[in-house]
C-alpha cells in the first residue's frame, strides 16, 4: 500500500499533515512521553541512589526512624493511588470504546483519588511537624519529647541506647543518632515531596484532560492526550510503589 507523505485531512482535523496516518501520530506522541519518563527514571534514580548509600551506612538509625512513619496510613495511601491508576486505565478504555460519560466519571474519580492521596500525605507531614521530625527546624528532636525514637517498641535496643550507662557516652550516641536520622528525614521529605509535586502536576494535567473529555474531544480514533497523560500518572504511581517499602518498611520486624 502506498502511503502519501503529505495530504490534507479535512475529515480528520486531529491528524497533522506531517504524519502518514493516525497510528503513526499516536505512536510518536506516546514515544515522546516514554522518552520523558526515561529522564524521570534518571531524575528519581539519583535520589534513590543517595537514599541507598546512606541507608547502607546508617542502617540502624534509618530503621529506627522509619518506624516513626505511620504504616497503616502509608499502606492506605498506596491503595488510594492504585485505585487512581485503575480509574485512569478505565478512562482510556472508555475513550477507546467511545463512551464519553463513563470516561468523565472515571477521570473525576481519578482526581478525587489524587487529591485524597495529597491530603493524606499532608496530614502525615503535619504529624511529622508535631513530632519535631522536620530536619531543617531548630526544634528537631528524636531523642526526647513528642517524637522520641525510643517510644517505638524495640528502638532503644536497636539503637543500642539501652546498654549505655555512662552519661558522656550516651550523650555522644544521642548526638550521633540526631545527625544520622536527620539524613533519613531529609531524604524522606525530598522523595515524598518530589513525588507530591509530580502528583500536583498530574492533578493539574487531569483537570484539563477531564474538561476535554467532558467536551467530547476524545473519540475511539483520537484520544492521545488522555493516553499519554495516563502514562505519566501510572509512572508517578510506580515511583510510590517503590517509595512505600523503602521509606516505611525498612525494619518492621516484630511490630
Amino acid at each position: 500500500m502506498e502511503t502519501p507523505l503529505a495530504v490534507e485531512h479535512e475529515a480528520r482535523p486531529e491528524l497533522r499533515h506531517h504524519f502518514a496516518d493516525e497510528q503513526q501520530q499516536r505512536n510518536a506522541a506516546s514515544l515522546g512521553m516514554w522518552w520523558f519518563l526515561g529522564t524521570e527514571i534518571m531524575f528519581f534514580g539519583g535520589m534513590f541512589c543517595g537514599y541507598l548509600v546512606y541507608r547502607r551506612m546508617y542502617f540502624t538509625e534509618f530503621a529506627a526512624a522509619s518506624r516513626t512513619l505511620n504504616l497503616p496510613i502509608g499502606a492506605f495511601n498506596t491503595v488510594v493511588l492504585l485505585c487512581s491508576s485503575l480509574t485512569v486505565a478505565m478512562a482510556v478504555r472508555f475513550a477507546q470504546l467511545g463512551k464519553r460519560k463513563m470516561q468523565v466519571r472515571m477521570l473525576l474519580l481519578t482526581l478525587v483519588f489524587g487529591l485524597a492521596f495529597l491530603g493524606i500525605k499532608g496530614k502525615e507531614w503535619g504529624d511529622k511537624y508535631k513530632e519535631h521530625h522536620i530536619p531543617t527546624f531548630n526544634h528537631y528532636n528524636v531523642i526526647s519529647g513528642e517524637g522520641a525514637l525510643t517510644k517505638e517498641p524495640g528502638n532503644a535496643a536497636l539503637l543500642g541506647l539501652d546498654k549505655i550507662t555512662d552519661p558522656v557516652k550516651r550523650q555522644q550516641r544521642e548526638d550521633e543518632i540526631q545527625r544520622r536520622t536527620k539524613i533519613f528525614y531529609s531524604l524522606y521529605f525530598a522523595l515524598t515531596g518530589m513525588h507530591a509535586i509530580h502528583m500536583i502536576i498530574g492533578v493539574g494535567i487531569f483537570i484539563v484532560i477531564t474538561w476535554m473529555a467532558h467536551k467530547g474531544r476524545f473519540t475511539p480514533e483520537y484520544h492521545t492526550p488522555l493516553e499519554i497523560a495516563g502514562l505519566y500518572w501510572h509512572f508517578v504511581d510506580i515511583v510510590w510503589i517503590y517509595l512505600f517499602p523503602l521509606l516505611y518498611l525498612i525494619d518492621r520486624r516484630g511490630a
Binding site: D21, Q23, M57, L86, R93, L231, H234
Partner: protein, 98 residues
Amino acid sequence: MANHSEHVASAGLYWLIWGVLIICTVLTAVVATVDLGKFNTVVALGIATFKATLVALIFMNVKNTSEKMTKAILISAVAWLLLLLFLSLADYSSRLAG
C-alpha cells in the same frame, strides 16, 4: 484503516490487576512485620518490582503497544538505573569495608 488496530483490553483484566496490586500492598505490609532475617528487604523490593511490572505491562500497555521502541526505551532506562545503583553501591560498600 490502521487507526482501528488499537488494542482494547477487557475491563475484567484491569479489575484483576487492580485486585492483585491491592493484595500485594497488604501482603508487603504484613510480611514486613515477620522476621525473615536478611530477606525482609528482598521480599519487600521483590513485591514492589512485581507491582511495578504489572502497572507497566497492563495499565501502561507496554505488553500490547503498537510502538516497538517503547520497550527499547523502557529497558535501556531501567538498565541505566541499575548501572547507577549497582556501581554506586559497589563503590561505597568497598570503601566502607576498607
